[in-house]
């Protein structure tokens, strides 16, 4: 059985804590995934914008070369004029280190260089489309690429190729300008996996060394058309979030990297704050729940204590509970009930006292009226037969007997009210019961009963008060005679069992109903129409005082057996 405390805790856990924990788990998870998605998308936007800018930068350069090609090819300028225009363009667009114009057969038609061009035209069989060479880092540590733009033949000129060396320093600046947070940088990888630019100053040496760094997983993933973002652990063991975008159509890749620690700092701070808030809420919920439960349970426990006190007979127990709720109403009802019970008990006691007094009074009247009547009758005869000596003797005998009877009744009352200490001495139990039984054989005979005395001849001694024990025996035998109809049998027997001696008084009378058998040894209990009902109560007290026990077995309609059991003593009367 679960206590109400356990049930209340389970209720709080179920109703408050579990939902709160679930809410926390869902919130933190949502916050984490949402923030990660937001940061990733933000970084991805940065990478995408950078890729678009780079692509636009190169495309613009290609457009410039197309325009230069058109001007050089279509304006029927002579050679030195074309050459001068090429030189002017290289000054006007300083990102071009060299601009050279070749005819379709590879002949130099104009160049911005002083002397021969350093660039070569595409091979004759090259498809006539814009060619962008892989990015290289030149001897001056600067990134460059070579652009070859076909110039179509027109009426003004035979066409050919515009070939230019494009310095990509501007890309460095673009990449350097990209900062995500304090430690998030961008990097540009060429199509062959070479690091071309990196915003992190510590990584620039990789560029200068011209090393082919291992292909970045994200770049490979991008080229394979897979994910745009990934997390990885760098050489220093730091987790990084990398997002990337391809620079189309050049197959370069812009990677934006940011340490997890920084990228998700806000999310972690929010998670921490949310966790703290939820923990505090949990703590408050549990504390309030426990406090409320204690307050609630304490009132119920107060009710329980009151109920237990009431059950223990403390009808004056009352419950004091504050509040204005059902529990308080229950406490009021309990107190009203206890008050009512107390009043009823008092009333019952009063009635019982009255009944007991009536029964005692009736018993006294019964027990005392006969001897007193006998004494009164004898006194009446005394005036007439004063001279009769024999009468005087009888009178004396009657008065003494009846006075003794009155005295016995009064002694019984006295014994009930205040037991008298018994003086004990070794008593032959067998001899004593035999004498008592034989003394009552006449009374049994008068009742039409057979009195059987089955007592061993051997003496068995017990430490007892012979007078008191005699009252017990007489009372039991007398009750048996009175409870047995004529023709029945009253059997008195004894036996020694180990260190105890048992005396039984059995009858074949009406028996005692089970619901009454528990109360037959109580004071003033009687099944008879007359008498105080003190016999069995006095008998039990005497036997108890002698260290023995008295028990009863009875079957309604078959009879009753009273057993007196006393401890045996080896001592004998000297």
């Amino acid at each position: 059985m679960r206590s109400i405390t356990t049930k209340l805790i389970l209720l709080i856990m179920t109703a408050a804590v579990v939902p709160l924990v679930l809410f926390a788990a869902i919130s933190i998870n949502s916050l984490r995934s949402g923030t990660r998605q937001s940061v990733t998308e933000g970084n991805l936007n940065v990478a995408t914008r950078a890729a678009e800018q780079i692509s636009s930068y190169v495309s613009n350069s290609v457009d410039v070369l197309r325009a230069i090609g058109a001007e050089l090819n279509g304006t029927r300028l002579n050679e030195w004029q074309q050459d001068r225009i090429a030189k002017n363009f290289v000054l006007e667009f300083p990102e071009f280190r060299e601009i050279s114009f070749f005819s379709a057969d590879g002949t130099v038609r104009a160049t911005s260089r002083i002397g021969a061009p350093h660039l070569d035209p595409p091979a004759a069989d090259t498809a006539r489309k814009v060619l962008v060479s892989p990015i290289t880092i030149d001897e001056d540590l600067l990134p460059t690429t070579r652009l070859s733009v076909p110039v179509a033949a027109t009426a003004g000129g035979p066409g050919g190729w515009i070939v230019a060396e494009l310095s990509l320093e501007e890309l460095w600046r673009m990449v350097d300008r990209i900062r995500v947070g304090r430690h998030g940088y961008a990097a540009l990888l060429s199509s062959d996996g070479r690091l071309v630019a990196h915003g992190d100053p510590d990584e620039k040496r990789h560029i200068a060394r011209g090393e082919l760094i291992p292909e970045h997983d994200l770049a490979a993933s991008l080229r394979a058309g897979r994910g745009l973002a990934m997390s990885y652990t760098d050489d220093d063991g730091a987790r990084k979030l990398a997002t990337g975008a391809l620079v189309k159509p050049f197959d370069w890749a812009v990677i934006v990297e940011q340490p997890h620690e920084e990228a998700f700092a806000i999310a972690r701070r929010l998670e921490r704050q949310l966790s703290i808030a939820i923990i505090v809420a949990l703590f408050i919920t549990v504390a309030v729940g426990v406090g409320w439960s204690r307050a609630f349970i304490s009132r119920i426990l107060a009710l329980r204590r009151g109920t237990e006190a009431l059950a223990a007979g403390h009808l004056d127990a009352r419950v004091t509970i504050g509040g204005r709720d059902e529990i308080q109403q229950l406490a009021d009802a309990f107190n009203a009930m206890a008050q009512r019970l107390e009043e009823l008990q008092e009333s019952l006691r009063r009635q019982e006292r009255q009944a007991t007094f009536g029964r005692v009074a009736a018993g006294l009247v019964h027990d005392l009226s006969h001897p007193i009547q006998n004494i009164a009758n004898s006194c009446k005869l005394l005036f007439h037969s004063w001279e009769d000596l024999e009468f005087r003797s009888v009178f004396r005998s009657n008065v003494e007997r009846e006075t003794e009877a009155v005295k016995n009744v009064l002694d019984d009352l006295k014994s009930i009210a205040r037991p008298i200490p018994l003086e004990r001495s070794p008593t032959d139990v067998n001899g004593h019961i035999r004498d008592i039984a034989e003394g009552m054989r006449a009374a049994a005979g008068e009742a039409g009963l057979t009195l059987v005395v089955d007592v061993p001849a051997t003496a068995v001694y017990a430490s007892a008060n012979e007078y008191a024990l005699g009252r017990v025996y007489r009372n039991l035998i007398q009750n048996a005679i009175q409870a047995t109809a004529a023709g029945g049998t009253v059997t008195v027997s004894s036996e020694r069992v180990d260190s105890r001696v048992r005396v039984r008084v059995a009858d074949t009378g009406t028996g005692i109903p089970p619901e009454r058998i528990e109360t037959i040894f109580e004071d003033y209990f009687t099944t008879k129409k007359r008498g105080l009902g003190l016999g069995l109560a006095i008998s039990r007290r005497i036997v108890d005082q002698l260290g023995g026990a008295i028990t009863v077995d009875s079957v309604v309609g078959r009879g009753t057996v009273f057993t007196v059991e006393l401890p045996v003593t080896e001592a004998q009367v000297v």
Partner: protein, 376 residues
């Protein structure tokens, strides 16, 4: 040591005023008495410019002395008894690399500690590297468009003066040097102590009015010179000249061809870097060969000989300054060349070293002996 140095033919060639010295006597720990034929201030200039070899057992006047020399480079050894204190660096090893990138990679691999010179185009990149500090400085060379005054079209001084005035130096600095240079106003580097007020070199497009129509100048250029953005500088000059109606025809030549043609005067103009040392170097470069000791370029210029001679004869600083100012005025009035820019380059040093910086002092040429390993 001075006497030994003065006997060296090479030093006598580069320091002609040593001829004036009759005797040298040490009159104290820090005093030398010099007796000369004539009292010229520049005699001392030559004397103090002599490289001195240490004498056995004595205190030396240089923090380093030359060590081994090989094809890969050379070494300099720190001198323990240098009179200003021993260098914390015991040996300096100079190595040549095939390219700046190779040198840079070596620096990044900690194989070397410093780059002697970083190209201006790469400075922006190098500056971003946190393991390296960059120390910019002006090279002691001035970008110069030198005229051959023997050529008839360039013989008139007003033509050369007009050509000098049509040049927009600020635009050149921006387009050719990315701003990493200072405009030049003469053959002496800016801030030299002998310089006072110098004639303005401000651009004056109206000067082109005096130029003959269809003036065409052939200019030699050696684009392979790595230390100069000659090609872009030449193109910018060409454009500025063209804007004023002058056709500057650029002719690319090799360094070898350039040297031979300059010596015989086979040119109209040449774009080169001229040494920008002190007055002695100025005298040697710009005085006519008839009286000057050193002349590599036969450009026929002698207009400033009188002022340069006066400079040579200056007895004191004020007289020297007045003479230099006169040379500048003469060169502005009758220019032998267009002095364009003093390019700025940079040294790059690993942060493993602490390098003291003193204004106007090259961290390698002047303060190398003060470098200290950085405390980590």
């Amino acid at each position: 040591m001075l006497k030994a140095a003065m006997k060296d033919d090479v030093q006598r060639f580069f320091h002609p005023r040593l001829e004036d010295i009759l005797s040298l006597d040490a009159t104290g720990d820090r005093e030398i008495r010099v007796r000369t034929r004539v009292p010229r201030l520049l005699t001392l200039d030559d004397l103090t410019d002599l490289p001195l070899a240490p004498l056995p057992g004595g205190r030396v006047l240089a923090p380093f002395v030359s060590g081994t020399v090989s094809e890969e480079g050379f070494t300099a050894r720190g001198v323990p008894n240098y009179f200003r204190g021993a260098s914390a660096v015991n040996v300096v090893e100079f190595r040549s690399h095939r390219s700046l990138r190779a040198a840079w990679a070596a620096l990044m691999r900690d194989e070397i500690d410093a780059l002697y010179e970083v190209n201006r185009d790469a400075v922006e990149f190098v500056e971003r590297e946190q393991r390296v500090r960059v120390y910019p400085f002006l090279r002691p060379f001035v970008s110069t468009l030198m005229f051959n005054v023997n050529r008839p079209e360039l013989a008139p001084a007003d033509v050369r003066r007009a050509l000098s005035r049509i040049v927009d130096r600020d635009a050149i600095l921006k387009a050719a040097y990315r701003g990493r240079a200072q405009p030049a106003d003469g053959p002496l580097r800016p801030g030299h102590w002998v310089l006072g007020e110098v004639p303005s070199t401000r651009r004056s497009p109206a000067s082109a009015d005096v130029l003959p129509r269809n003036l065409r100048i052939r200019c030699l250029v050696a684009p392979e010179v790595e230390t100069q953005p000659f090609e872009r500088l030449a193109l910018v000059l060409q454009k500025q000249f063209a804007d004023s109606g002058v056709d500057l025809e650029l002719e690319a030549v090799t360094m070898k061809e350039l040297g031979s043609r300059l010596r015989v005067g086979d040119f109209e103009a040449v774009l080169l870097e001229a040494i920008g040392g002190g007055p002695t170097w100025m005298y040697g470069l710009w005085h006519s060969p008839s009286s000057g000791p050193v002349r590599f370029i036969a450009n026929g210029y002698a207009a400033a000989d009188r002022e340069l001679d006066a400079m040579q004869m200056a007895r004191d600083e004020e007289e020297l300054k007045r003479a230099v100012a006169a040379v500048y005025r003469k060169m502005a009035d009758d220019p032998p060349a267009i002095f364009i820019a003093w390019p700025e380059v940079a040294r790059a040093v690993s942060t493993r070293f602490e390098v003291p910086v003193e204004k106007g002092v090259d961290i390698m040429g002047g303060n190398l002996w003060l470098w200290r390993p950085a405390r980590r």
